[in-house]
Amino acid sequence: MDIPYTTSARPDTGLWNAKIGIWLFLASEIMLFGGLFSAYIFLRLDAPPGYWPHGLLNVPVGTMNTAILIASSVTVVLAWAALKMRQFARYKFYMGITIVCGIIFLFVKLYFEWPDKFHHFGAYIREDRLEKYEPYLGNHHLREKGLEMRREITGHLHNEEALHDQNVHEYEIQLDQVNAAPTDPASDRPHFWPLPKTDKIAHVAKEDVERATMFVPSHSTFFATYFTITGLHGLHVLGGVLIFIYFWLPVGANLYKRNPEHLANRVEVAGLFWHFVDLVWIFVFPLFYLL
Protein backbone atom coordinates (compact mmCIF):
# COMPACT_ATOMS: atom_id res chain seq x y z
CA MET A 1 0.00 0.00 0.00
CA ASP A 2 1.22 3.44 -0.82
CA ILE A 3 1.71 6.09 1.79
CA PRO A 4 -1.15 8.55 1.32
CA TYR A 5 -0.78 12.27 0.75
CA THR A 6 2.86 12.32 -0.31
CA THR A 7 2.17 14.97 -2.93
CA SER A 8 -1.43 15.96 -2.51
CA ALA A 9 -2.81 17.79 0.50
CA ARG A 10 -4.70 16.00 3.20
CA PRO A 11 -8.07 17.77 3.28
CA ASP A 12 -8.17 18.38 7.02
CA THR A 13 -4.59 19.72 7.44
CA GLY A 14 -4.22 21.32 4.04
CA LEU A 15 -0.70 19.88 3.82
CA TRP A 16 0.97 16.81 2.46
CA ASN A 17 1.81 14.54 5.35
CA ALA A 18 5.60 14.75 5.43
CA LYS A 19 5.45 18.51 5.66
CA ILE A 20 3.50 18.51 8.88
CA GLY A 21 5.61 15.59 10.09
CA ILE A 22 8.91 17.40 9.63
CA TRP A 23 7.60 20.52 11.35
CA LEU A 24 6.46 18.53 14.36
CA PHE A 25 9.91 16.93 14.44
CA LEU A 26 11.64 20.30 14.12
CA ALA A 27 9.47 21.65 16.93
CA SER A 28 10.87 18.92 19.19
CA GLU A 29 14.38 19.63 17.90
CA ILE A 30 13.99 23.28 18.82
CA MET A 31 13.16 22.16 22.36
CA LEU A 32 16.24 19.89 22.43
CA PHE A 33 18.69 22.58 21.36
CA GLY A 34 16.73 25.24 23.25
CA GLY A 35 17.38 23.36 26.48
CA LEU A 36 21.10 23.15 25.74
CA PHE A 37 21.36 26.83 24.85
CA SER A 38 19.43 27.74 27.96
CA ALA A 39 21.91 25.66 29.99
CA TYR A 40 24.77 27.44 28.21
CA ILE A 41 23.43 30.86 29.21
CA PHE A 42 22.86 29.74 32.77
CA LEU A 43 26.33 28.22 33.17
CA ARG A 44 27.99 31.20 31.59
CA LEU A 45 26.16 33.76 33.73
CA ASP A 46 27.05 31.82 36.86
CA ALA A 47 30.71 31.21 35.97
CA PRO A 48 32.95 32.96 38.54
CA PRO A 49 35.35 35.57 37.10
CA GLY A 50 38.17 33.96 35.14
CA TYR A 51 36.46 30.60 34.72
CA TRP A 52 34.81 31.14 31.35
CA PRO A 53 37.64 30.81 28.82
CA HIS A 54 37.61 33.22 25.95
CA GLY A 55 39.30 33.09 22.59
CA LEU A 56 40.32 29.44 22.78
CA LEU A 57 38.62 28.38 19.57
CA ASN A 58 39.98 28.91 16.08
CA VAL A 59 37.90 31.75 14.62
CA PRO A 60 39.02 31.59 10.94
CA VAL A 61 38.23 27.89 10.85
CA GLY A 62 34.87 28.47 12.54
CA THR A 63 34.08 31.24 10.06
CA MET A 64 34.98 28.98 7.17
CA ASN A 65 32.74 26.21 8.48
CA THR A 66 29.90 28.70 8.93
CA ALA A 67 30.28 29.80 5.31
CA ILE A 68 30.33 26.16 4.18
CA LEU A 69 27.08 25.40 6.02
CA ILE A 70 25.39 28.49 4.61
CA ALA A 71 26.53 27.59 1.10
CA SER A 72 25.13 24.08 1.56
CA SER A 73 21.80 25.53 2.68
CA VAL A 74 21.68 27.50 -0.56
CA THR A 75 22.59 24.50 -2.70
CA VAL A 76 20.00 22.25 -1.08
CA VAL A 77 17.26 24.75 -1.77
CA LEU A 78 18.56 25.03 -5.36
CA ALA A 79 18.46 21.25 -5.63
CA TRP A 80 14.84 21.33 -4.57
CA ALA A 81 14.05 24.15 -7.01
CA ALA A 82 15.71 22.13 -9.80
CA LEU A 83 13.41 19.20 -9.01
CA LYS A 84 10.44 21.52 -9.07
CA MET A 85 11.51 22.59 -12.53
CA ARG A 86 12.08 18.94 -13.43
CA GLN A 87 15.78 19.41 -14.11
CA PHE A 88 17.15 16.19 -12.73
CA ALA A 89 20.78 16.68 -13.79
CA ARG A 90 20.84 20.03 -12.01
CA TYR A 91 19.31 18.48 -8.95
CA LYS A 92 22.09 15.87 -8.85
CA PHE A 93 24.71 18.58 -9.23
CA TYR A 94 23.42 20.78 -6.40
CA MET A 95 22.73 17.83 -4.15
CA GLY A 96 26.28 16.63 -4.79
CA ILE A 97 27.68 19.99 -3.69
CA THR A 98 25.50 19.89 -0.57
CA ILE A 99 26.83 16.47 0.35
CA VAL A 100 30.44 17.57 -0.20
CA CYS A 101 29.86 20.66 1.97
CA GLY A 102 28.45 18.55 4.79
CA ILE A 103 31.39 16.17 4.61
CA ILE A 104 33.93 19.02 4.63
CA PHE A 105 32.22 20.50 7.68
CA LEU A 106 32.42 17.20 9.56
CA PHE A 107 35.99 16.59 8.44
CA VAL A 108 37.17 19.97 9.71
CA LYS A 109 35.40 19.36 13.01
CA LEU A 110 36.61 15.82 13.61
CA TYR A 111 40.09 15.89 12.11
CA PHE A 112 41.14 19.39 12.88
CA GLU A 113 39.17 21.32 15.48
CA TRP A 114 38.51 18.66 18.10
CA PRO A 115 41.94 16.94 18.00
CA ASP A 116 43.57 20.38 18.17
CA LYS A 117 41.73 20.91 21.45
CA PHE A 118 42.66 17.49 22.78
CA HIS A 119 46.34 18.47 22.46
CA HIS A 120 46.01 21.80 24.18
CA PHE A 121 46.65 21.98 27.91
CA GLY A 122 45.39 24.29 30.63
CA ALA A 123 46.10 24.56 34.37
CA TYR A 124 43.84 26.57 36.67
CA ILE A 125 45.91 28.13 39.45
CA ARG A 126 44.65 27.93 43.04
CA GLU A 127 43.14 31.12 44.40
CA ASP A 128 45.89 31.59 47.04
CA ARG A 129 48.74 30.97 44.56
CA LEU A 130 47.65 33.40 41.88
CA GLU A 131 50.24 35.95 43.05
CA LYS A 132 53.07 33.47 42.55
CA TYR A 133 52.20 33.10 38.88
CA GLU A 134 51.54 36.77 38.30
CA PRO A 135 54.26 36.98 35.58
CA TYR A 136 52.19 34.53 33.52
CA LEU A 137 48.74 35.85 34.44
CA GLY A 138 49.13 39.64 34.48
CA ASN A 139 46.19 40.19 36.80
CA HIS A 140 47.49 43.52 38.15
CA HIS A 141 47.51 44.83 34.62
CA LEU A 142 44.02 43.46 33.94
CA ARG A 143 42.61 44.91 37.15
CA GLU A 144 43.97 48.33 36.26
CA LYS A 145 42.25 48.15 32.92
CA GLY A 146 39.02 46.85 34.41
CA LEU A 147 39.25 43.56 32.51
CA GLU A 148 38.29 40.11 33.72
CA MET A 149 41.00 38.27 35.66
CA ARG A 150 42.93 35.19 34.47
CA ARG A 151 43.25 31.99 36.43
CA GLU A 152 44.56 29.66 33.80
CA ILE A 153 47.94 29.01 32.23
CA THR A 154 47.61 27.37 28.82
CA GLY A 155 49.88 25.96 26.17
CA HIS A 156 51.51 22.74 25.07
CA LEU A 157 52.23 20.26 27.85
CA HIS A 158 55.79 18.99 27.42
CA ASN A 159 55.70 16.31 30.07
CA GLU A 160 52.40 14.56 29.38
CA GLU A 161 53.26 11.88 31.95
CA ALA A 162 52.59 14.57 34.57
CA LEU A 163 48.89 14.02 33.94
CA HIS A 164 48.99 10.50 35.44
CA ASP A 165 52.31 10.09 37.23
CA GLN A 166 52.14 10.91 40.96
CA ASN A 167 55.93 11.23 41.12
CA VAL A 168 56.05 14.11 38.67
CA HIS A 169 55.48 17.24 40.69
CA GLU A 170 55.19 19.91 38.06
CA TYR A 171 53.77 20.65 34.65
CA GLU A 172 56.15 21.88 32.00
CA ILE A 173 54.11 24.13 29.74
CA GLN A 174 55.19 25.71 26.48
CA LEU A 175 53.17 28.87 26.83
CA ASP A 176 50.50 30.39 24.64
CA GLN A 177 51.08 34.02 23.72
CA VAL A 178 48.54 35.23 26.27
CA ASN A 179 50.52 33.74 29.20
CA ALA A 180 53.95 34.49 27.74
CA ALA A 181 53.21 38.21 27.53
CA PRO A 182 50.21 38.74 29.80
CA THR A 183 50.64 42.49 30.21
CA ASP A 184 51.02 43.14 26.50
CA PRO A 185 47.88 45.08 25.50
CA ALA A 186 47.67 42.77 22.49
CA SER A 187 46.85 39.97 24.95
CA ASP A 188 43.90 41.85 26.44
CA ARG A 189 41.49 40.56 23.86
CA PRO A 190 41.36 37.48 21.64
CA HIS A 191 42.63 37.72 18.09
CA PHE A 192 41.05 36.68 14.85
CA TRP A 193 44.13 34.76 13.73
CA PRO A 194 45.23 32.45 16.53
CA LEU A 195 48.71 33.34 17.71
CA PRO A 196 51.35 30.60 17.58
CA LYS A 197 52.71 29.14 20.79
CA THR A 198 55.81 30.84 22.12
CA ASP A 199 59.15 29.26 23.02
CA LYS A 200 58.72 30.32 26.62
CA ILE A 201 58.43 27.48 29.10
CA ALA A 202 56.67 27.74 32.45
CA HIS A 203 57.04 25.29 35.30
CA VAL A 204 53.84 25.04 37.28
CA ALA A 205 53.91 23.06 40.52
CA LYS A 206 51.08 20.57 40.85
CA GLU A 207 50.35 21.70 44.38
CA ASP A 208 49.62 25.20 43.08
CA VAL A 209 47.09 23.91 40.62
CA GLU A 210 43.39 23.62 41.27
CA ARG A 211 42.62 21.66 38.12
CA ALA A 212 44.69 20.78 35.08
CA THR A 213 43.55 18.92 31.98
CA MET A 214 43.75 18.90 28.24
CA PHE A 215 40.95 20.84 26.54
CA VAL A 216 38.47 17.99 26.95
CA PRO A 217 34.87 18.19 28.20
CA SER A 218 35.97 17.89 31.84
CA HIS A 219 38.26 20.92 31.49
CA SER A 220 35.52 23.46 32.18
CA THR A 221 31.82 24.12 31.78
CA PHE A 222 32.82 25.99 28.62
CA PHE A 223 34.29 22.90 26.98
CA ALA A 224 31.58 20.65 28.42
CA THR A 225 28.88 22.71 26.71
CA TYR A 226 31.05 23.23 23.62
CA PHE A 227 31.58 19.51 23.02
CA THR A 228 27.97 18.63 23.89
CA ILE A 229 26.41 21.17 21.57
CA THR A 230 28.86 20.90 18.68
CA GLY A 231 28.83 17.10 19.07
CA LEU A 232 25.05 16.92 18.87
CA HIS A 233 25.09 19.40 16.03
CA GLY A 234 27.73 17.32 14.24
CA LEU A 235 25.52 14.23 14.57
CA HIS A 236 22.72 16.20 12.93
CA VAL A 237 25.05 17.16 10.08
CA LEU A 238 25.99 13.51 9.70
CA GLY A 239 22.31 12.50 9.66
CA GLY A 240 21.54 15.10 7.02
CA VAL A 241 24.46 14.02 4.84
CA LEU A 242 23.38 10.36 5.01
CA ILE A 243 19.84 11.24 3.94
CA PHE A 244 21.13 13.39 1.08
CA ILE A 245 23.41 10.60 -0.10
CA TYR A 246 20.40 8.27 -0.07
CA PHE A 247 18.44 10.65 -2.32
CA TRP A 248 21.46 11.16 -4.53
CA LEU A 249 21.86 7.44 -5.18
CA PRO A 250 19.76 5.59 -7.80
CA VAL A 251 16.94 5.45 -5.25
CA GLY A 252 16.36 9.11 -6.00
CA ALA A 253 16.45 8.62 -9.77
CA ASN A 254 13.97 5.74 -9.53
CA LEU A 255 11.57 7.74 -7.45
CA TYR A 256 11.97 10.65 -9.85
CA LYS A 257 10.94 8.43 -12.77
CA ARG A 258 7.91 7.17 -10.87
CA ASN A 259 6.78 10.42 -9.31
CA PRO A 260 9.05 13.46 -9.54
CA GLU A 261 6.88 15.54 -7.24
CA HIS A 262 7.30 12.96 -4.51
CA LEU A 263 11.10 13.22 -4.73
CA ALA A 264 10.84 17.02 -4.73
CA ASN A 265 8.79 16.87 -1.55
CA ARG A 266 11.20 14.46 0.10
CA VAL A 267 14.09 16.74 -0.75
CA GLU A 268 12.11 19.69 0.57
CA VAL A 269 11.57 17.93 3.89
CA ALA A 270 15.21 16.88 4.18
CA GLY A 271 16.12 20.43 3.20
CA LEU A 272 13.97 21.83 6.02
CA PHE A 273 15.93 19.66 8.44
CA TRP A 274 19.20 20.87 6.89
CA HIS A 275 18.21 24.53 7.21
CA PHE A 276 17.41 23.91 10.85
CA VAL A 277 20.90 22.46 11.35
CA ASP A 278 22.31 25.57 9.68
CA LEU A 279 20.14 27.74 11.90
CA VAL A 280 21.49 26.10 15.05
CA TRP A 281 25.05 26.70 13.87
CA ILE A 282 24.23 30.38 13.28
CA PHE A 283 23.87 30.65 17.07
CA VAL A 284 26.64 28.21 18.01
CA PHE A 285 29.27 30.10 16.04
CA PRO A 286 29.08 33.52 17.75
CA LEU A 287 28.32 32.10 21.20
CA PHE A 288 31.29 29.74 21.35
CA TYR A 289 33.83 31.21 18.95
CA LEU A 290 33.36 34.94 19.21
CA LEU A 291 31.67 36.18 22.36
Binding site: G14, L15, F42, A81, M85, A89, N265
Partner: protein, 136 residues
Protein backbone atom coordinates in the same frame (compact mmCIF):
# COMPACT_ATOMS: atom_id res chain seq x y z
CA UNK B 1 -11.14 15.43 -4.08
CA UNK B 2 -10.18 11.81 -4.01
CA UNK B 3 -8.73 11.05 -0.64
CA UNK B 4 -5.74 9.05 -1.81
CA UNK B 5 -3.46 10.25 -4.48
CA UNK B 6 -2.97 8.13 -7.55
CA UNK B 7 -0.28 5.52 -6.97
CA UNK B 8 1.58 6.70 -10.02
CA UNK B 9 1.19 9.84 -12.08
CA UNK B 10 -1.57 9.27 -14.54
CA UNK B 11 0.43 10.27 -17.60
CA UNK B 12 2.41 7.07 -17.34
CA UNK B 13 5.17 8.06 -19.71
CA UNK B 14 8.60 7.71 -18.13
CA UNK B 15 10.27 10.96 -17.27
CA UNK B 16 13.64 11.52 -18.87
CA UNK B 17 16.33 11.49 -16.21
CA UNK B 18 18.34 14.04 -18.10
CA UNK B 19 16.14 16.70 -16.62
CA UNK B 20 13.95 17.73 -19.51
CA UNK B 21 11.37 20.26 -18.40
CA UNK B 22 7.98 18.62 -18.44
CA UNK B 23 4.89 20.15 -19.81
CA UNK B 24 2.63 21.12 -16.96
CA UNK B 25 -0.38 19.21 -18.16
CA UNK B 26 1.59 16.01 -17.68
CA UNK B 27 1.15 16.37 -13.93
CA UNK B 28 -1.82 16.49 -11.70
CA UNK B 29 -2.00 19.92 -10.12
CA UNK B 30 -0.11 20.30 -6.85
CA UNK B 31 -1.89 20.85 -3.64
CA UNK B 32 -0.97 22.31 -0.35
CA UNK B 33 2.75 22.25 -0.65
CA UNK B 34 2.88 25.68 0.89
CA UNK B 35 2.38 28.97 -0.83
CA UNK B 36 6.08 29.37 -1.54
CA UNK B 37 5.93 26.23 -3.62
CA UNK B 38 4.83 26.60 -7.16
CA UNK B 39 4.72 24.25 -10.07
CA UNK B 40 5.33 26.96 -12.62
CA UNK B 41 8.83 26.81 -13.94
CA UNK B 42 9.15 30.57 -14.16
CA UNK B 43 8.05 31.21 -10.62
CA UNK B 44 10.60 28.82 -9.17
CA UNK B 45 13.40 30.31 -11.23
CA UNK B 46 12.41 33.68 -9.86
CA UNK B 47 12.82 32.20 -6.39
CA UNK B 48 16.25 30.88 -7.29
CA UNK B 49 17.57 34.43 -7.58
CA UNK B 50 16.10 35.23 -4.18
CA UNK B 51 17.77 32.17 -2.64
CA UNK B 52 21.14 33.21 -4.04
CA UNK B 53 20.68 36.75 -2.72
CA UNK B 54 19.75 35.49 0.72
CA UNK B 55 22.77 33.18 0.69
CA UNK B 56 25.04 36.12 -0.16
CA UNK B 57 23.40 38.20 2.56
CA UNK B 58 23.96 35.43 5.10
CA UNK B 59 27.65 35.25 4.20
CA UNK B 60 27.88 39.02 4.52
CA UNK B 61 26.23 38.87 7.95
CA UNK B 62 28.68 36.15 8.99
CA UNK B 63 31.56 38.46 8.15
CA UNK B 64 29.78 41.25 10.01
CA UNK B 65 29.35 39.09 13.14
CA UNK B 66 33.05 38.27 13.15
CA UNK B 67 34.02 41.89 12.60
CA UNK B 68 31.66 43.26 15.26
CA UNK B 69 32.90 40.78 17.85
CA UNK B 70 36.30 42.54 17.73
CA UNK B 71 34.74 45.97 18.17
CA UNK B 72 34.52 46.99 21.81
CA UNK B 73 30.97 48.12 22.54
CA UNK B 74 31.84 48.98 26.13
CA UNK B 75 30.92 45.77 27.90
CA UNK B 76 30.65 42.05 27.33
CA UNK B 77 26.89 42.41 27.66
CA UNK B 78 26.74 45.00 24.88
CA UNK B 79 28.88 42.87 22.56
CA UNK B 80 26.73 39.86 23.38
CA UNK B 81 23.57 41.79 22.49
CA UNK B 82 25.01 42.96 19.17
CA UNK B 83 26.17 39.44 18.31
CA UNK B 84 22.81 37.91 19.14
CA UNK B 85 20.86 40.54 17.19
CA UNK B 86 22.87 39.75 14.05
CA UNK B 87 22.50 36.00 14.67
CA UNK B 88 18.73 36.39 15.10
CA UNK B 89 18.54 38.35 11.85
CA UNK B 90 20.40 35.55 10.07
CA UNK B 91 18.23 32.88 11.65
CA UNK B 92 15.15 34.87 10.64
CA UNK B 93 16.31 34.95 7.03
CA UNK B 94 16.92 31.20 6.98
CA UNK B 95 13.55 30.46 8.56
CA UNK B 96 11.56 32.92 6.43
CA UNK B 97 13.12 32.30 3.02
CA UNK B 98 14.85 28.91 2.97
CA UNK B 99 12.27 27.26 5.19
CA UNK B 100 9.39 29.10 3.51
CA UNK B 101 8.00 30.33 6.81
CA UNK B 102 7.18 33.67 5.20
CA UNK B 103 4.25 31.98 3.50
CA UNK B 104 3.22 28.73 5.13
CA UNK B 105 -0.03 27.06 5.97
CA UNK B 106 -1.89 28.09 9.07
CA UNK B 107 -1.46 24.73 10.79
CA UNK B 108 2.33 24.98 10.85
CA UNK B 109 2.17 28.36 12.54
CA UNK B 110 -0.22 26.92 15.08
CA UNK B 111 2.26 24.17 15.90
CA UNK B 112 5.14 26.61 16.14
CA UNK B 113 3.32 28.96 18.51
CA UNK B 114 3.50 26.22 21.13
CA UNK B 115 7.18 25.72 20.44
CA UNK B 116 7.88 29.41 20.82
CA UNK B 117 6.00 29.45 24.11
CA UNK B 118 7.87 26.47 25.59
CA UNK B 119 11.27 27.62 24.36
CA UNK B 120 10.60 31.00 25.96
CA UNK B 121 9.83 29.11 29.17
CA UNK B 122 13.17 27.28 28.88
CA UNK B 123 15.06 30.52 28.50
CA UNK B 124 13.09 32.08 31.31
CA UNK B 125 14.74 29.51 33.61
CA UNK B 126 18.00 31.48 33.33
CA UNK B 127 16.20 34.04 35.52
CA UNK B 128 17.38 31.92 38.45
CA UNK B 129 20.82 33.34 37.85
CA UNK B 130 19.57 36.60 39.37
CA UNK B 131 17.13 35.16 41.86
CA UNK B 132 18.02 31.81 43.39
CA UNK B 133 15.29 30.66 45.78
CA UNK B 134 17.55 28.02 47.36
CA UNK B 135 20.87 29.75 47.93
CA UNK B 136 19.37 33.12 48.63
Amino acid sequence: MNETQPAAPSHGAPIPADGGVLAEHAHPPLHGSGAAVDDHVHDVSKHVKKYLMVGALLLLFTGLTVFLSYVDFGSMKANMTVGMVVATLKAGLVAAIFMHLNAERQLIYRVLIFTVFFVAALFWLTYFHWYDPILR
